[in-house]
Subunit: 234 residues, 2 copies
C-alpha cells in the first residue's frame, strides 16, 4: 500500500485512536479499490461485508424510500470512514453507497474488524467514536431540515466549505455537482438554483463550480436568522 494512502487512512476517525501496530495490522489486510463515478459500493439491505475509508473522491450515502424517492444521508470524502456501525454484526446496510466522483477507497473486511475487536477490545471504542461522529452529523442534518429554509441550508453548506481561519471575502470550490448538492440539502436542483439566486442578495456569487462569498460574517448571520422574522429587515 502506498504510503500516501496509508497516511490518509491513518488519520480517519476509525484508525486515528489506535496505536501504530494495530492500525498497521488492520491496513495490511485491507484492499485498495479504485472506482469510477457512479459505481455502487454497496446497496441498502445488502449484508454488511466491509467498512470503507475514502482516500480520494466523494461518496454519497443515500436511501431509496418505498415510494421511490432518494434521500441523501451523507456525503463523504478524504479521511472519512463509513459502514462501521454495521460491521461488527452481520446486519444489513441501512443505506446505499455510490461514488459521486472517481474514487480511491480502502475496503476492510468485517472479518478483519471482528478479529481485531477480539484481539484488541479497545478497537471497539474506535468504532464507537466513528459511529458517534455519524450520529452527530445526522442530528445536525435533521436540525437543518427542520429549522432552516432552503436558502439558509445552502448558505450553511457554503460556510462548511470555508477554511476555519478565513474571514471577509472568500472563494470556495463546490466539491461535487449541483444535483448532489441539492440532494444533500433535501431539495430539487431547481430550488438550489433559486436559493443561489437569493443568496446573491447576501453577497454570494456562483459561477460554474466556484462561489465567491463577499462577506463571511453576514452570510453566517443570514444562515442563523429565524425564517419567521426575516421579513423585518426591509
Amino acid at each position: 500500500m502506498l504510503s500516501s494512502i496509508y497516511q490518509v487512512a491513518r488519520k480517519s476517525l476509525l484508525l486515528a485512536g489506535l496505536p501504530e501496530d494495530a492500525a498497521k495490522a488492520i491496513l495490511e489486510r485491507a484492499r485498495v479499490r479504485e472506482t469510477e463515478r457512479g459505481a455502487t459500493v454497496f446497496l441498502q439491505g445488502e449484508r454488511a461485508a466491509a467498512v470503507y475509508i475514502v482516500i480520494e473522491g466523494w461518496v454519497k450515502l443515500y436511501r431509496i424510500a418505498p415510494n421511490g424517492a432518494e434521500a441523501v444521508v451523507g456525503v463523504f470524502t478524504k479521511g472519512h470512514s463509513f459502514g462501521e456501525a454495521v460491521a461488527f454484526t452481520h446486519d444489513a446496510y441501512p443505506v446505499s453507497a455510490e461514488c459521486a466522483t472517481d474514487c480511491t477507497l480502502i475496503r476492510i473486511e468485517t472479518d478483519a474488524i471482528l478479529r481485531m475487536v477480539r484481539d484488541k477490545p479497545e478497537f471497539a471504542l474506535s468504532l464507537l467514536s466513528a459511529t458517534f461522529a455519524h450520529l452527530h452529523r445526522l442530528v445536525a442534518q435533521i436540525e437543518q431540515l427542520k429549522a432552516q429554509t432552503g436558502a439558509q441550508r445552502v448558505a450553511e453548506f457554503l460556510l462548511e466549505l470555508v477554511p476555519d481561519d478565513a474571514s471577509g471575502k472568500v472563494e470556495v470550490k463546490l466539491p461535487y455537482d449541483k444535483v448532489l448538492i441539492a440532494g444533500r440539502l433535501g431539495m430539487k436542483p431547481e430550488s438550489l438554483s433559486r436559493a443561489f439566486a437569493k443568496l446573491r442578495e447576501h453577497g454570494v456569487k456562483v459561477k460554474q463550480n466556484h462561489a465567491v462569498i463577499e462577506h463571511l460574517e453576514s452570510l453566517r448571520d443570514y444562515a442563523e436568522e429565524d425564517p419567521a422574522t426575516a421579513w423585518q429587515k426591509g
Copy 2:
C-alpha cells in the same frame, strides 16, 4: 432496585446482549430517578455524565437551533436507552433531553460505563448496537422528512403504534400530546391537525388521544405513495 424495574432495564438494547452477571454489576451501581413532566434530564453542550434507560414514561431528545427553533430528534419510552454514544468519552451531549410525561429513569454514570468497558471489553459491543439503533432511527427520520408529506408522516407514525400482528380495523392510543407529535414529525401543531383531517379521507378517525384506523392496509398504501403522483387517483 425493584425487580420490575430491573426486568425492563435488562431488556434494553444496552444490556440485552450482556450475560446476567455483567448486567447485574452495572445495574447495582445505577440509580433510579423519578422525574416530573417537563423535567430536564440534560442539556445539549453539557458534559456527558451518564447514560439513561427509560423504565416508564416518555423522554424527548431535541436540539435548539441557533435561530431558536426546536428540532425533535427522538422520543423514547420503556426499554429505550439514550446517551450511550457520548458516554465513553467525556464529550458534550449533542442534544437536550426532557421528560414529556412523568418518568422513571435509570441513570448509569459514565464512570461505571468506562469501568465496565475496561473490565469486560465486549460491553463496548453493546454500546455499539444501541448506538447503531439510534443511527438507524435517525436515517429513517431523514428519509421521512425528505420523501414524505406531512400527512404521510402522520400516517406512518400511527402505523408504528399498531401491534405487528394486527390487521383490518385497529384502535391506537396516541402516546403523548399533539404538540410533541407534531415536533417529532417536523411540523407545527396546526399542520398536524390538518394532516389528521386529511387522513379522515383514508379511514382514520381521531378523537382526543385515540385514533381509529378503519383499514390498516390502505393506510399503509397511502403512507408509501409517491406524493408527486398522488393526484392521479381522483
